[in-house]
């Protein structure tokens, strides 16, 4: 599948302070791209650069194969829906009036607006003033505004922020439906659990650098699970291993992190050599959250 968004060595610095370093994003068309990272890792800045709202300090952005520049920005934005920072909406106007502003500005048809409103299931609340909307309804209105132009690419910055579990599930369902309709969705979050089951491709940002990019399976494969050694005297085994390995007690086992197969054999040989009975050696289960924490250094989660 071709990439709808590519960036090459994309970077942003504010004065001498680097925010994003040499980012090479590859977002395949039609996927839900989960853009993950702790708060302050550069996600919003990256998304703003993709939308042409912030000028990159260096590097290049291509949307649908075309470079995002000042001269092409307006045309490219016609095919990109977005929701950045807080959801937009004029509180003194109704939802319908807000949608009409977007319709008039972009020259959209009634059908496009009606479809966008139905997609976010807001059709029964359009005559209410936006100031009376709940946060979830405001998010849905913001997404409807982004969808009205029937974009090929939808960029959503933390759309589940502040929502209750039902609201989060609703947004997840919406993202899946949109991807099913062929819209590429880039969605950011600082919480892996919020988009883990929705995203088909993940990009993980830490300290402004892309730490990982690929599928969920590739992410798992990249980080070797901990080794668990079952022994009748785990405390003694831990005291023997802690000098040379990253070891900690885990119930009746000793848990060793970051070991490949060769290092595992070495640890077992060390225990056996010291007269410790080894009853079992196995790889532990790792949640995606653990992998994410490893990659990002646990910052801000």
């Amino acid at each position: 599948m071709p990439d709808i968004v590519t960036t090459d060595r994309l970077a942003k610095r504010y004065r001498e302070h680097p925010v994003v370093h040499d980012l090479d994003l590859r977002i395949p068309e039609g996927c839900v791209y989960g853009f993950l990272g702790p708060n302050g890792s550069g996600k919003s800045t990256t998304m703003k650069m993709l939308l042409g709202l912030v000028r990159p300090s260096s590097g290049e952005i291509r949307i649908g194969g075309r470079p995002m520049r000042r001269s092409t920005r307006r045309e490219l934005l016609g095919g990109i829906g977005s929701l950045i920072e807080t959801p937009p909406g004029y509180g003194h106007l109704t939802g319908r009036e807000n949608m009409r502003l977007v319709q008039r500005l972009l020259g959209l048809g009634d059908g496009q607006v009606a479809r966008a409103v139905r997609t976010v299931r807001l059709q029964d609340h359009l005559d209410k003033k936006v100031r009376a909307y709940s946060l979830g309804m405001k998010q849905r209105l913001g997404i409807a505004m982004a969808l009205a132009r029937e974009p090929r690419l939808l960029i959503l910055d933390e759309p589940t922020n502040g929502l209750d579990p039902a609201g989060i599930e609703e947004i997840r369902g919406l993202l899946r439906r949109l991807a099913g309709d062929g819209v590429t969705v880039m969605v950011s979050s600082h919480l892996l659990g919020e988009i883990d089951r929705t995203a088909t491709v993940l990009g993980i940002l830490g300290g402004g650098r892309l730490l990982f990019q690929g599928t969920r399976a590739e992410l798992f494969a990249r980080s070797a699970p901990d080794v668990l050694i079952d022994t009748p005297d785990p405390a003694y085994a831990h005291s023997l291993l802690s000098g040379g390995f990253e070891s900690r007690l885990d119930g009746t086992s000793v848990r060793l992190a970051g070991l490949d197969d060769r290092a595992t054999a070495k640890a077992v040989a060390h225990l056996v050599g010291a007269g410790v009975d080894v009853h079992g050696v196995r790889r532990g289960e790792r949640s995606l959250e653990d992998v994410f924490m490893d990659l990002t250094g646990g910052g801000g989660l």
């Binding site: 000028r55 934005l77 990109i80 807080t86 003194h92 106007l93 008039r104 500005l105 982004a146």
Partner: protein
């Protein structure tokens, strides 16, 4: 797209009581002018030859008093909705940069302010006719004064759009409007060179009739100075809004 964006600004005015504020501007200036004029000794005989002069002079008192604050209110209401509704980003992602949005807001509000300025003059002329002023309307002086006031109003409107856009706290813009009213009201007593140094002083430079040593006299307004203010204001507004487009928050 610009035309559609300007139409959107008129749509956003719904519920912001822009018409009410513009109506207040008209009512305050026309009402205060009329009240001042009819109580002036020069208006004792409305059928007299110079009965339009006290009306013109009273406008020169009422307009600087009421306009700056109400212009600040108009600009603040129209711009503050973008701060509170995430409108800057919404517009940007629709291809309208913040500077361009300011220019569009100025265009929409400028129509309202220009219409209000013309209407307050026409209202006062109508009131003069109704009160029995028989002399022909001094069209040149009246049109010149109205046009000059419109230019000063538009320059101040542009200033307030910029201040309201740049500073989230709308009290700053409103405070500037109050300060402007004080400066504008006192400018008639200042030497002309000093009145040239701040935009509110130009109301005084546009004055067509005023009292000098207790006598009502027609003046020669400095229309060229007002035109220069308009040109400088337009250039600075374009420059400032272009700089807005380069800002990155």
């Amino acid at each position: 797209m610009i035309g559609r964006a300007v139409a959107n600004e008129f749509a956003k005015m719904r519920g912001l009581r822009v018409a009410a504020v513009a109506g207040t501007l008209i009512a305050c200036t026309a009402g205060l002018s009329l009240l001042t004029a009819v109580t002036a000794p020069a208006f004792a005989d409305p059928a007299g030859e110079r009965s339009w002069e006290p009306l013109l002079a009273s406008m020169a008192l009422a307009v600087p008093l009421a306009s700056p604050v109400l212009l600040a209110v108009l600009a603040s209401r129209q711009v503050d909705i973008e701060h509170r509704g995430g409108g800057w980003l919404l517009s940007q992602t629709s291809g309208i940069t913040p500077g361009r949005l300011c220019r569009i807001k100025f265009a929409a509000l400028g129509c309202v302010v220009s219409a209000a300025t013309a209407l307050q003059s026409l209202l006062l002329i109508g009131a003069g006719v109704l009160l029995g002023v028989a002399a022909p309307v001094p069209v040149g002086a009246w049109a010149g004064y109205t046009a000059s006031v419109a230019v000063v109003n538009l320059v101040l409107l542009a200033l307030h759009v910029l201040v309201s856009a740049r500073v989230d706290n709308q009290l700053v813009g409103l405070g500037l409007g109050v300060l402007g009213s004080v400066l504008a009201a006192t400018a008639t007593g200042l030497p002309p060179w000093l009145a040239h140094t701040f935009p509110w002083g130009y109301y005084a430079l546009a004055t067509a009739a005023d009292y000098r040593d207790g006598a009502l006299v027609m003046l020669a307004p400095d229309h060229s100075a007002v035109a220069a203010l308009g040109a400088a204001g337009a250039a600075l507004f374009l420059l400032a809004t272009a700089l807005f487009d380069r800002r990155e928050d």
